[in-house]
Assembly symmetry: C4
Homo-oligomer: 234 residues x 4
């Protein structure tokens, strides 16, 4: 019997949240969940419809994207997941979707500006949009290089992956992560909502002002600071 | 046994309407219900998912936002609710959400103009948008001062809280209230619908005219005037 | 026992279609159905929530809007329905809603231009938008005069109510009608879809051309002409 | 007993996907499925509501659009289907809808530009929009000529129907096809999603750049190329 049953179950349940939260149609997304002790992660098989997916279908890979266990081919984005797990030691789950507003900002090749407290409840920066990759990277080990593109963007903008848990890859779409796969899925939904609000805000007022620093700090700190008082403190 | 069972139930049921009416995702909202005789109000606990919420989880607070009964930490917005209950003696319930169109107008920092009879059926004024708070208020007792910001806006614009039962707090989102918690929830849904209609109206015709005074008066009076003939008169 | 049982049932079922088709929230709409032989129509009671509505609640009125049978107060728009039934002898049902796109075009005070075959499958003209009423009409017998406003608009634009089964009343919202109450509801849904398509079309291309006459004729005729071949011919 | 039972069932099930995928309201769409060996195709009867449709209602026609089996009148668009089956020997199913974003781009008379990888996962070209037909073609054998209009557009733009499985007919709406009826339905949903993303992209950034060639090639090839590694390879 597989020793990864629980990991597969966690990955399966996080994947099933994507259609439930209206973040994917058909097979346009994937979630992975990591087991740091075993040095592996569980990921959705490629091109399998959500309504047909079972926990047994989930594929186990190592951080070089080699299959450790599983009958099926893993997500075509597996190397991007592997890259991020290897580089960012404190993340427990990763999500990629083609959600509508996330993709549209990515196609517009623009960061999502921070306009309000809904955004600041989750991060203090604009949601970054990495530029589309250079041709030689696309033609080479594309999915691996997508991971590198994400890290390069974070380095250039001076962002911390434990504070900013989401990015748009230009012309492509959103990637999110978190302490757990469930938190990474939550971040995908938050990104989609915040991206939609920012879109509407600019339609209503093209000169809408950036959220003031005091509010950015207040809302982020009350939820994530050392004296946080949002939630049940557990 | 708690003497606030009925109040908690009222508060619980009003809270559960928010996801049912598509006004919140996750925990992005809260409803409270007041008991004027006891000088307390019931409010949603902070950061608890709606699908996990039970009537027993509801927290009872006094008008200084002190917990009177309950195991859990109340909503992080509790002091705003307390402030409004203390100042406005005739309201029975308060709602705060991050609903999409309400937030987008708040982020645009613009009042929602009165364009049609759907709006006038509920209020005769533009839906006010309070400016974002001054830095020293944000850094101080933020949620308490959010209540003060709302009252200051009403004072400055000469609005009556019994006629205008809704406001947008700039860069943040909508607050609504009413005679009961259920009415306050109704007002949140109305605000969202009216905000969406006003958005679309300006997209179709940026020069759309304000609703004429005769129609504002007619529609408001037929529903709320002394000779009102809308509804069953009970 | 009431002799209007069947009429009430028809009216009730048509009313229940409004929330099912996403055309109303709360009580923002009403449907009536006529019995020409008896000279009466059945209409939704005012301000009653759809989920609480029963066939017994439906009110029977004559063409002067006097109650013939029923315990409840009829829709506040009853006089508009009565006016249209009296003037237009071949209609069997009327619908009024505050549907999102219909209202937004009405608030923009613009006709919905005919851009495509979806529109031409149902009517060959722009969906007319009547101007808001004059103040003295609003302050007088408002709902009666709303009926007159609709007829005046049809007269001025030279429209035939048996060909164009819908109108927007400026600053207010859509009214539709048809041979039956069910057909009037169908027209309300068609209006909403066509209004949304026209909105999106202009957002994509502000210079989108009007549908060419040959296509208007072809699509309308294949569905409604004497040699119509759409549907099962029954 | 009919020898087309299986074909009718395939056609029925593909048709029922249209309302399930939010691609049609009422009867605004139709799907056909071909049997190449028998030289016939199965198609939805005209004007029948989806909720009333049964597999027995499906009509069997030959490639001249003559009825081979069935009690009902086939879709008014049957001659367009027949034309495409006759000309394009490798397609197994065809879909026509009046889906919201597809129609809106068609009414705007604009190709849907390729902005991102969601688009490139399915085709490497802009989604073509055929110009509205000449008056004499509309007034003649309209639905037959609609098929010709589609082929003329493909010829003029140098497109291959096995690579580009979708088109917008100007002022009208989308047609899609595929190896099977189910794949044609899938393409209709993809077209609608991609059309919506392109709409939003241009609203956010009117100068959004076309997807770079390296990404177009990469995404199309990884899913459809000879070394494709998306999906389970079956």
């Amino acid at each position: 019997m597989s020793k990864f049953l629980e990991l597969k179950r966690e990955c399966y349940e996080a994947n099933m949240q994507l259609p439930a939260l209206d973040l994917v149609v058909y097979t346009f997304g994937n979630v992975s969940a990591v087991d740091r002790k075993e040095g592996v992660f569980a990921i959705k098989p490629s091109g399998v419809a959500y309504e047909a997916l079972t926990p047994e279908d989930i594929v186990i890979c190592d951080f070089d994207a080699k299959i450790v266990e599983g009958e099926m081919r893993p997500s075509s984005d597996t190397k991007t997941h592997a890259y991020l797990y290897k580089e960012w030691e404190n993340i427990g789950g990763i999500v990629h979707t083609h959600s509508l507003y996330g993709v549209s900002w990515a196609q517009a090749q623009m960061d999502v500006p921070i306009f309000g407290t809904t955004h600041a409840d989750h991060l203090t920066k604009d949601i970054p949009c990495a530029p589309p990759m250079a041709d030689e990277l696309i033609e080479g080990d594309y999915e691996h290089m997508t991971g590198k593109q994400i890290l390069d963007c974070f380095a250039e903008k001076g962002l911390d992956y434990e504070e900013v848990e989401m990015i748009l890859v230009g012309s492509h779409g959103p990637f999110t992560w978190g302490k757990t796969a469930a938190k990474a899925v939550y971040n995908s939904k938050v990104l989609e909502e915040v991206a939609k609000m920012a879109y509407l805000t600019l339609q209503i007022n093209p000169n809408a002002p950036r959220l003031k620093d005091a509010l950015i700090k207040k809302h982020y700190e009350r939820k994530h600071g050392k004296d946080a008082y949002y939630g049940q403190g557990c």
